[in-house]
Symmetry: C2
Subunit: 153 residues, 2 copies
DNA sequence: GAAGATTGACACCTCAATCTTA
DNA sequence: TAAGATTGAGGTGTCAATCTTC
């Protein structure tokens, strides 16, 4: 944590924020483009399929998926529209609560994800491992996790 | 750097990539919203004004500004349209090369930036300094810089 | 009233095509 | 031919409003 004086004076937070924005857009472009070109999937599409696939029965409430992907309710509706139209995801009703709808990954969705994940994970490992060691990557993810942790600790 | 075996096996790059995406969207929302609500500036708008203001004469070739903000040529045209319409930035011709146009921050642009930067930088310091010390922030920006460095070193 | 989902209107950015100038 | 800038068309996401169900 930073003391009051440090907060008001240090340029470290500004430099870190700048680096975060830059690295984010550079890596998003580098890792998102091949996924889109080869499989027609955005990073959010991929993240949705991947998140669903790792749940039991491959299903999740739409509202929970939205939270996991950090998008709004309308955002998840629009995202899933595309995946449903391609038969990669389908809607499931919830008998206990008619307000909720589940998003469920289909067999075709699992197949495409399996294909896409091979090249995508390889790309992630190549790009992220290009200049940093495993120890440094762990250190980095540790710092990032703490950075976005809830304010109170 | 990672060896071939490490690259193919380790989950560290995947975890780091996930953390990067999550932190990016969380902080972008947290730091972008107040800027938009109070001053009608997106993070890109702010970054454009800030970049211009720190150049001598407050001007830059549009193509160079696009590269600095990591957007496409059309992206910088659309972004500057809005700032020009509000009188925060203006176009400047280049007599030596009629193909190029400069973007130049106006007096009004500098005034708005001065206002906005006070609250924005304070917010950056508060959010980034919430859970990490200065040393940790420096360590983080150092790792991020290396992560996005050119492949060959 | 609150929760979940959707829709219309809009903001922002990209790509492909085009225009002007070098 | 290439560089810089712009435009039209389209993709992806948000917000505000609405609908249904709890």
């Amino acid at each position: 944590m930073l003391t009051k004086q440090e907060i008001g004076a240090s340029r470290s937070p500004l430099r870190t924020w700048d680096a975060l924005l830059r690295v984010g857009s550079v890596l998003t472009a580098e890792l998102g483009s091949p996924l889109l070109e080869s499989y027609g999937l955005t990073l959010h599409d991929y993240e949705a399929l991947d998140t669903l696939a790792h749940r039991e029965r491959g299903a999740m409430r739409r509202v929970d998926l939205a939270a996991a992907l950090r998008v709004t309710p309308s955002g998840i509706t629009r995202l899933l529209e595309g995946l449903e139209a391609r038969g990669l995801v389908e809607k499931l009703a919830c008998p206990q609560d008619l307000r909720v709808t589940y998003a469920s990954i289909t067999g075709a969705g699992r197949e495409l994800l399996a294909e896409a994940s091979r090249t995508h994970q390889e790309a992630v490992r190549e790009v992220l491992g290009r200049n940093l060691s495993c120890q440094e990557l762990d250190q980095l993810s540790g710092l990032l996790d703490r950075l976005a942790a809830s304010p109170e600790r």
